[in-house]
Amino acid sequence: MAETVKDKVRNFIVENFLFGDTSYQLADDASLIENDIIDSTAVLELVAFIEDNFGITMSDADIVPANLDSLARISSFIETRAGSVAA
């Protein structure tokens, strides 16, 4: 089965912010800040990952918790933006 956007994002978070800890139950809507998964440097790592892997350029206005503070929000943001790029 093809890897979904959510799978790719989850793998990135597990590898880079949870250091491979697959036992961590990362719920789709869990806040990455509230759960101490990302800090200010990690936000910029996340932005680089999205831009490098999904062909999206993020403006400063895009870099807000409303778009990036959970697995579900990040996936939704990427899908919406990638869809609009494709269209």
Partner: protein, 645 residues
Amino acid sequence: MCGFAGYVGHVHDADTLLTQMTAAIAHRGPDEQGKFIVPGAGLGHARLSIVGLGDGQQPMSDETGQLTIAFNGEIFNYVELRDELRAKGRRFRTSSDTEVILHLYDVMGEDCLSRLNGDFAFALWDQRRRRMMLARDRMGVRPLFHTQKDGTLYFASEIKALLKVPGVTAEIDPIALDQIFTLWAPIAPRTAFRNIDELEPGKLMIVEQGRTSIRTYWQLDYPHRDAPPPIASEAEAAEELRALLTDAVRLRMRADVPVGSYLSGGLDSSLVSALAAGMTPQGLKTFSVTFDSAEHDESAYQQEMASALGTHHRTVACHEGDIARVFPEVIRFTERPIIRTAPAPLFQLSGLVRNAGLKVVLTGEGADEVFAGYDVFKEARVRRFCARQPSSRIRPHLFRKLYPYLPGLQQQSVEYLAAFFGANDAAPDDPLFSHRPRFKTTSAAKIFFSGDLRETLKGYDATDELAGRLPDAFAQWHPLNQAQYLESRFLLPGYILSSQGDRMAMAHGIEGRFPFLDHRLVEFAARLPPEMKLKGLVEKHILRKAAGDLLPPRILDRTKQPYRAPDSQAFMGSGDLDYVRECLSEKNIAADGLFNAKAVAKLHQKCSTQPVSGFRDNAAFVGILSTQLWQRSFAENGKRAEQAA
């Protein structure tokens, strides 16, 4: 300034044991060693001669031979106390401050502590009552550790002396590790070593007839938040502050050897150096550390201040690779894991002082706790300000102003700033409100704890324990004073004065003196209205007011730049050193069992390849590496000893 060790109880071959214990801390006192042994008690001492060079040998007994003391530190008001005691007919045989304690104890018993203005830890044996009194200064400048083994109490200035006691071994305390990875330091009396405690600042311990009791003789206190200010005007407060600080420096210039001064380029050490320079007609010697990276370096300010004061200024450069080179030695002296490398350059700095032939330096340490200089105080104020209007898109911009030296933060959106600082989390009743973001960010590094360690710590919360240790009156204090208490009572003795202070200085036999921690000044500042300390977002306002004429405007008006050093990047540079590779190897991490070996390998890889690491990754890297070094310095020696036995 010295080191001592001893016991109360019964010891086989006490002479050999005291020799070994004292030798373990010989770096604290390279000038002389001495022992005192009677049935049931013993004291050993390693002396750094500063006051009473020719007649201050220790352990020292009074003229009756009934009272004997081993003492580490200085009693700065010993001249005044000696004059008082002489006026009451007391005769002195030496010119030392040590003898003053003996006489004062003879007159006042344990209440003598209230009269001492100094940085001290001592053990005093009273043969008449067959009782040992251990005491430590009010703010925790000088260390004192103890442990029990087979009914005997052992004590020492550093834990490495206690590890000489047969059967006392080094085993990491998992609770302490959790506290370090949350609060930056263990909560005293706990230390990193299981079953070894420290005597807390402001406390004394009595061991008499097989019973041990500990009591508080001094504690930091603040007025009720609604109490009328005791000082009406700022001008009056500034004047009194200037007089107190001048006297605190004057007393700390007392020594039979030259006294120098650290000069970081910030307000506090500049002020202390300025006052000290005025009291040193032959010219003050000042010392600084410089860094290659502009982010950490303050040498332009240091040079400006040294020129303005006309001091004989010397610097030591902390180049790329230096921190990694000295780090194993640093951990041997901190005797605990640490999550920042900041002690390492101070280790280099005390070496510079030693090479310059000095034994004593003044420092500006303590001013940030006493006069509210740290960013955490301003941050708490901004968080409260934001929480009053959570929908504001303007207020969180203030966080950028607080941290101009953190480039990663400058690039964040207002929404992220608010989220990272918990700006909209109104929790006014939380006693740890001021420090929650710091504790939360630091705790994130615990993601690297192994499954076994997490299981051991299940249900434990270091912040709950800290909140449970606060005094009853805490809830009645102004929020700024609450935050100051958390810094002054826990982080100051637990990290700043120990890992960055006493341990790094004494590693090279250097005594640090801290005018801002003179208890008269501490008590005065605690009574000041909070707005005199943190005025809006201007830190140490009253100190600037009091010192205005002593410093060049560029130094006086500087916003505080926290003392920091490169963390994980300090170990990357030109490739891993052998010990770093060995400490962080999957095999060794797995064998020690404290951390998740695969996760640590990924962290190591990430820090090696990324030009900049975040706070969590830096804290985790330094914390894990220092824990592994701690195991190698202390626990493995114990294991080898057990295997040999």
